[in-house]
Amino acid sequence: MAHATPLAIRGLNKRYEVKGQALSVLQAIDLAIAPGEFVSIVGSSGCGKSTLLRLIVGLEGDYEGEILLGGQPVTGTGLERGIVFQEHRLFPWLTVEKNVALGLLNSRLTEGERRAAVREHIALVGLQGFEGAYPHQLSGGMSQRVAIARALVNRPDILLLDEPFGALDAMTRAHLQDELRRIWRQEGITMVLVTHDVEEAVYLGDKVVVMEPRPGRIRRTVPVPLAHPRERSAQAFAVLKERVLQEFAAYPAAQLAEPPYRRGEPPVPVGRWQFAV
């Protein structure tokens, strides 16, 4: 079992310089994640959810505010934080076994312990028998499972997943969601999943953090107090999913603008027209 530590994000702000102008990507993000919790983050494109993950894992820096893992501020990358990207990013010149073993390259295990850990994690993601296969011989779902094994093999304190199933077909996605939940229950690792699929977020998360874009902010956190295994067709599930979807429908930008011309009235000049997006 990994020793799960709490993640605390306080007052996180991230800005990019674009043509001399400061572009705010994340604004005043406050997030507390308890050890062993599964947090889903949903939002439309451009709400900074990927940037948030990249800041937590240390691929990007230069932020204002605090990101504390177990009370320690996060600086750069580290083996205690793992990430699974949307693309599998496997090394094409290595077999499945060697790709998973990459996660242990800088760990302090002995040779025998490493082999055992690799075998265990390949079995964990259900790919026994494929140790000698090359990435180009695997399907998308299998490659993504190898990526998950690689991220987990060093028992990180927290696993971040950036739209990991976005590039897969619906059936594989559903299957892998179940696999991920099984792994989470088994290993007890804290997981943070970023997705644009609301159903996936509600299916897997203990709470759903809804973000809105321009600049990226947390709009609301919706707790999901359902017991596992969850049924997508259950009434309680549908209610929660609807509650999350409501957050998206309530964007001011999505409200219809006043029509420029109503019968009987003089038309509003073009300069005063307002558009919905």
């Binding site: 990013r89 094409p92 010149w93 990459l102 390259l105 090359y134």
Partner: protein, 262 residues
Amino acid sequence: MQKTSKHFIPPRLRGWVLPVLIVALWGWAVHAGAVSSPLLVSPLEVWRRGVEQVASGELRVALSASLWRNAWGVLIGMAAGFGAGALLGASRWAERLLGPSFHTLKQISLFAWIPMLSMWFGLGEAAKIAFIALAAFFPMVLNTFEGIRSVPRELIEVGRVHAFSPWQMLARVTAPAAAPSIFTGIQLALIYGWLATLGAEYLLASGKGLGNTLIDGREHFWMDLVLFGVLVIGAVGFALNAVLGVLERRLLAWRERTVAQY
């Protein structure tokens, strides 16, 4: 169900059909007196000359001299090319400083270097090896540079996430990712190197070598010697390519087929 129909000519030998036909046609043309030029020698004469060359040891002398020159020149060219390509690829500063000059120099036609090389190195071995090295250098630099610059950023990020040291990043990400391009560079270096070996022997005519055999044959109008020499040169080129092909299958077996197979 496997087709058990007997092939008239087994697939493995099909490549030989055309050459055999050509040689047969050639032999018949000579025998039937279809062409009355003294320059048209029969395949049999070429064969006899070849046997004579082997028996007298002349082939061995010429071939080993050419191969020796080729090996030296190509090795020096590849090593220098790899170093320069790696430097240009890894360091933006170096590329900005040295890049424009390099790209200008590479445009100079290879054979235009001969006068300068013969002035600096004379007409002996050094000049020939320098020429061969130059021929091998340019494709190696370009392909090494390309390989190192094309390492996918996504894989570098995976390395960073797993806390790779700079050496680990180089050895486990950059080098394997650049390997296919570098291998192409090696292939081209060998092709151009062998081409330049013959060119060097021709243009800096001194000493022994297959090129000198050809010059010999031309001067004495011994067409059979010329043809034999050409065959040997072609065979060496073919052999070099075949060896590389085997190496490629071994080292780069992980690559998937991205093009159609007709």
